[in-house]
């Protein structure tokens, strides 16, 4: 798999076995919640976007309101061009798999991705191949952070669009979720409602 440099979202700046954080090259250019991303061409890790954060690059400098006299939010950035250089967008991905000799494995890689590994959003083909099995879903559902149900639902919605019959994919995914979350009816209903949206 050879990637086009223009498709690059950013670079890994923090990595562990279970998750990695990517700093975006462009402000606000993070992939959406639940998107599948990969590190490098191996890929050394596949991750599902679980949290997106935009903040001041320097923790001791806090943004202040600047738009009182502006009519649009874009105007605030146009009038303060330094903001694009002083704010940054990062996103945290939960590692759900990796590449192994051309095969995508739906479980944790032996090593986390390297710092500065290039990060790309996976294309439809990869997404379709990876979402053929939902083995990693229980792991996602048990992830910390309180938003795991939303992350799973968002991932499945994205994945469904890569399949020829999105509705069939979601129905099948719902069945698998019913097995995984059988004992938690309320939670299962919550995830299914999110899938339907």
């Amino acid at each position: 798999m050879i990637s086009n440099p223009t498709d690059r979202l950013g670079e890994v700046i923090e990595a562990s076995t279970t998750e990695f954080t990517t700093q975006c090259y462009e402000l606000y250019e993070a992939p959406p919640l639940g998107a599948l991303v990969r590190c490098g061409d191996g890929p050394s890790a596949l991750g599902v976007v679980a949290n997106i954060e935009t903040r001041s690059m320097d923790p001791s400098r806090h943004p202040i309101a600047r738009g009182r006299d502006e009519t649009t939010e874009e105007g605030v950035y146009r009038s303060n061009p330094q903001l694009n250089r002083l704010l940054l967008t990062e996103f945290r991905s939960l590692t759900v798999g990796h590449g192994d000799g051309g095969v995508l494995r739906p479980y944790l890689p032996p090593q986390p991705p390297r710092i500065h590994a290039f990060v790309y959003r996976c294309g439809d083909e990869e997404l379709r191949a990876f979402s053929g099995s939902l083995e990693f879903v229980p792991y996602l559902l048990s992830s910390q952070g309180g938003a795991s149900d939303d992350i799973v639902a968002a991932f499945l919605r994205h994945a469904s669009e890569s399949h020829a019959d999105p509705r069939k994919f979601l129905v099948d995914a719902g069945r698998e979720l019913a097995v995984i979350l059988g004992a938690e009816v309320q939670r299962l209903n919550g995830v299914l409602r999110r899938l339907a949206k």
Partner: protein, 404 residues
């Protein structure tokens, strides 16, 4: 033992009381100064300045227009660029195993309007070569000036303006631009070096003034102004000009007439003593307005600036009265003067309160406490890695180890 805060607080209280008593007549002195400013006769001033030149105790500015004049800011252009530089340094530390200093220059280039953009970067440079650490008299090479303290401050100013020149060369040529420095255009760090002309020649003539020459050349090719901005300025040159107006003697012979009087008791102190120019203009300027332009009479400028006379005006920037210094070739060009006024005011509004380009240049330049510690460790580790002798003073070591 750390600072005894109880004892310190009591002394701060005493200081506040002392300041309050010292300040008793301040309000009336400011009012008096405003009255004098409003009925100032620039022609009379010029005549008395001429007749008193040899006997004046004050350095008084040139006042080419009514000093009470107020000018509203012209509209800023839709598209423009502001480039600013600022610097910080790590001074020579005799407790370090290597004699060296570091200058870090911060640069911000902000483009506004249809192609809005920003470039923020810094350029650190370590000076450690033998020739980098001293200024030598070329006529008499055994005479040299070690670069540290105030001379290093001046060297840094030269590096700041050199970086400004480099950044200005890369600006888009089709839109108006302002190059902005922090502090004064006059290299006051070097005031005490009158007897070391080779130092003044190298730093001012070959450094700062050469850069001003290049900036003037760039201004000849495009709409481009150069200025420096001083926040909370402590200048009192305009207030001192008022002294000449209130001086009761035909010729101001300060030493002969008033040499025996304590400061505060001289006749000219009545509307001047202890007052800064900014306090005077805070009474007369409305937000956004600038004062008249004055001409600095600094001896450094007269002796070394080679025709780049330094002019200045005060600006009501919204939150404070700031001082803007400009070279004569900006002051004498009505369009460039207006551009400077409009863009600095615009920068202060975006700041808010202080030119945003200078603030970002400062942020790029600043060397923090942890940076300084890292620098010292890095020097020691690198020297030791190269098997060079690493020593430190016992004083420095004891400060780090803090034995109990």
């Amino acid at each position: 033992m750390s600072l005894d805060l109880t004892q310190t607080a009591i002394q701060i209280d005493r200081m506040a009381q002392e300041l309050r008593s010292r300040d008793a007549g301040r309000r009336s002195r400011i009012e008096r100064a405003v009255e004098t400013l409003l009925r100032f006769d620039a022609e009379e001033y010029a005549e008395k300045l001429q007749s008193s030149r040899q006997t004046l105790a004050w350095r008084l500015p040139g006042v080419p227009e009514d000093p009470a004049a107020r000018h509203a800011a012209p509209a800023a252009p839709d598209d423009f660029c502001v480039v600013a530089t600022d610097g910080s340094h790590i001074d020579v530390d005799r407790h370090l195993p290597a004699r060296c200093f570091l200058i870090n220059i911060g640069v911000s280039v902000l483009t506004y309007g249809s192609s809005s953009d920003a470039r923020l970067f810094n350029e650190p440079r370590l000076y450690a070569a033998e020739d980098d650490l001293v200024i030598r008299d070329r006529l008499s090479p055994q005479r040299e000036q070690v670069i540290e303290g105030a001379v290093l401050g001046a060297r840094r100013t030269v590096e700041e303006i050199a970086a400004l020149v480099r950044a200005a060369r890369d600006l888009p040529e089709d839109i108006p631009a302002l190059a902005l420095m922090d502090g004064s255009l006059i290299m006051y760090d070097l005031l005490g070096f009158g007897n070391r002309q080779f130092v003044l020649r190298e730093l001012i003539e070959e450094g700062f003034v050469a850069a001003l020459d290049e900036l003037r050349r760039l201004a000849g090719q495009r709409r481009f102004a150069v200025a420096s901005y001083i926040s909370l300025p402590r200048g009192a040159e305009v207030v001192n000009a008022l002294r000449l107006r209130t001086c009761p003697f035909d010729v101001a012979e300060c030493e002969r007439h008033c040499g025996q009087l304590r400061p505060g008791r001289r006749p000219c102190d009545e509307g001047a003593w202890g007052i800064y120019d900014r306090e005077l203009f805070a009474e007369t300027l409305a937000p956004g307005e600038r004062s008249a332009v004055f001409v600095s009479s600094s001896s450094l400028v007269a002796d070394y600036y080679q025709g780049h006379d330094v002019h200045f005006f005060y600006l009501h920037a919204g939150e404070e009265i700031g001082r803007v210094e400009i070279p004569s070739w900006v002051a004498e060009d009505e369009a460039l003067l207006g551009l400077t006024h409009a863009l600095i005011l615009d920068q202060c509004r975006r700041g808010p309160g202080y030119p945003i380009a200078l603030m970002e240049a400062h942020e790029q330049a600043v060397v923090t406490g942890p940076d300084r510690r890292f620098f010292v460790e890095q020097v020691e580790n690198t020297l030791s890695g190269q098997r060079l002798p690493v020593y430190s003073s016992e004083k420095s070591r004891s400060k780090r180890l803090r034995w109990l």
